[in-house]
């Protein structure tokens, strides 16, 4: 990779160890992805915020890093493990709370906007189309490339962090126009569609796709279906983008393929609790949910995950009251994936409409999963 004199000096440690480390990461990624130069990025979105995912190693690393690192560009962050406002209601040990607080402080010290959300594309004003950003959260990277017209690779936690510190990223993969053209089309053949089928479509596509994939037969995706597709796609593979125009080899996604995905992810026919919000729900989806829940109440405990940015609106519009009246809990700053609030010691199986949530609940939280679409959940799990 060709570096400028200034970049070379930083890599050699002439501007301090932190910048040297950041450039080492960028050079390794540049070599791995065949990039010849670094280019500026305008916005970094970081993953690696939840103590459950990064552990003591991550907490100590960030604490050390924050002693002298400062983010050079706008930097937003993924959800943490819990919501500080309501954490006392849950049985969570003090060590977790203290470590999570440490991680939050380190990110804020380096200059992060405390967004704690996996849907930055829904809560922040977006830069103009074609702008390079560096998004580590996989559903957000895919959404940014496919829907928002931004350019990012499916970044790793450390690559986005290095981009936040340097304001740069290697110019490779999806940052290069020619790699954004898909050479494989997944043909959506499932007739009855909801966000769960789109999530399973994404999970299927991610396993076979390279950097970019075409999805045919999926026009007019609404926000819920689209987020579900992005999250499923980001979970199973390395794909960072989809288009809705067919190209190249074609593979069908039909009822049979969908059943295979379901068999892989689903381990229970029912569940003790319901979770909604991986990715977190935005204001439109909360408003839809309020309409669907009119006159109903959940038969089981239901946890709904949202970004803090919409908390006041949810309250002021009266949605919070209505959702709580239906027996559900609203949680901010966190999401289904690896939340310590769901543990196999107190939960056997979880009902969710999220394919991404299902994957991590099963593999990381160690609980069983029952997949149901939102309308199925409202029909079957409320009275």
């Amino acid at each position: 990779m060709e570096l400028t004199k200034d970049e070379e000096a930083a890599l050699d440690g002439k501007h301090g160890e932190t910048l040297a480390l950041a450039y080492r990461v960028l050079v390794a990624i540049g070599d791995a992805t065949g990039s010849d130069k670094l280019i500026p990025i305008e916005w970094a979105h970081l993953s690696g915020v939840n103590y459950n995912t990064i552990g003591d190693a991550g907490e100590e690393f960030l604490s050390r890093l924050s002693k002298d690192a400062k983010f050079k560009v706008k930097t937003t962050v993924n959800p943490m493990g819990f919501d500080f406002d309501t954490v006392s209601k849950y049985d969570l040990d003090d060590k977790f709370i203290q470590k999570q607080q440490g991680i939050r402080k380190s990110y804020e010290k380096m200059g992060a906007i405390p967004s704690f959300s996996c849907i930055p594309y829904q809560i922040f004003e977006l830069p103009k189309k074609g702008t390079h950003v560096s998004f580590a959260e996989s559903n957000a990277a895919i959404y940014a490339n496919s829907i928002s017209g931004l350019k990012t690779n499916k970044e790793g936690a450390f690559s986005a962090l290095a981009s936040a510190i340097t304001g740069k990223s290697p110019c490779s993969d999806l940052r290069d126009e020619k790699n954004r053209e898909p050479n494989l089309t997944i043909q959506m053949k499932v007739k009855n569609r909801d966000e769960l089928t789109y999530g399973m479509l994404g999970y299927f596509a991610g396993k076979v796709a390279g950097n970019s994939v075409a999805i045919s037969g999926a026009k007019n995706l609404d926000m819920r279906n689209c987020k579900s597709l992005c999250a499923g796609l980001g979970t199973s593979g390395r794909c960072g983008m989809f288009t809705l125009e067919g190209a190249g080899e074609k593979i069908d996604f039909d009822d049979k393929e969908m059943q295979k995905v379901r068999d892989e992810l689903e381990t229970s026919e029912s569940g003790d609790i319901i979770t909604l919000g991986s990715p977190q729900l935005g204001l439109d989806e909360i408003s839809d949910l309020v309409v669907m829940l009119k006159g109903k109440s959940f038969k089981k405990r239901c946890m709904i995950f949202c970004p803090r940015a919409i908390r006041e609106q949810i309250k002021n519009l009266g949605y919070a009251k209505k959702i709580e009246r239906a027996g559900a809990e609203l949680l901010y700053d966190c999401c289904i994936c690896l939340t310590p609030l769901i543990d196999k010691s107190n939960v056997d199986a979880v009902i969710t409409n999220s394919v991404k949530g299902a994957y991590y609940l099963r593999t990381s939280n160690g609980v069983d999963v029952n997949l149901k679409s939102l309308s199925q959940i409202v029909n079957e799990e409320t009275k």
């Binding site: 480390l21 080492r24 990461v25 050079v27 390794a28 990624i29 070599d31 791995a32 992805t33 993953s47 690696g48 939840n50 995912t53 990064i54 552990g55 003591d56 190693a57 991550g58 100590e60 690393f61 580590a136 959260e137 996989s138 690779n153 499916k154 970044e155 790793g156 936690a157 450390f158 690559s159 986005a160 290095a162 993969d173 991610g206 980001g234 979970t235 199973s236 593979g237 390395r238 892989e264 994936c337 690896l338 994957y359 991590y360 593999t363 990381s364």
Partner: protein
């Protein structure tokens, strides 16, 4: 064989060959190095102190922290050999100082589980 160097270093050890890609965050226990994804071909095996051979990393970007945690918890692979190094694996290995190389398809396919190898990720040789 010649390999492309992504993260430099030298090591000797036993190959652990994975047919499937790896989602480090969901698939690997960061405290022990055990593969805990029941659907993975390495389920129940341990990555610790092995030269890990896998096509590429998939899934969560936080997998980079899992790689760092494996190193911190002294249960990381000695080195990694990929067919196509992805960003999460490359950045995770760079921060953790775990040698990472990419082998060409034919060479990659000749690697066998349990084989003893010597990896020189400074001059780019795997013996």
């Amino acid at each position: 064989m010649n390999v492309k160097i992504i993260v430099r270093g030298k090591t000797k050890g036993t190959l652990l060959v994975s047919k499937n890609p790896i989602n480090f965050l969901g698939g690997i226990d960061k405290k022990t190095g055990l593969v805990r994804d029941k659907n993975h071909d390495l389920f129940g095996k341990n990555l610790a102190n092995k030269v890990l051979v896998f096509p590429f990393g998939v899934g969560s970007s936080v997998g980079a922290y899992t790689i760092y945690s494996l190193k911190y918890n002294k249960c990381a692979p000695l080195a990694m050999i990929c067919l196509k190094a992805d960003i999460t694996t490359a950045s995770g290995c760079a921060i953790s100082n775990i040698p990472l190389v990419v082998a060409q398809k034919q060479d990659y396919e000749s690697l066998r589980d349990g084989q003893q190898v010597s990896l020189d990720a400074v001059s780019g040789k795997l013996l």
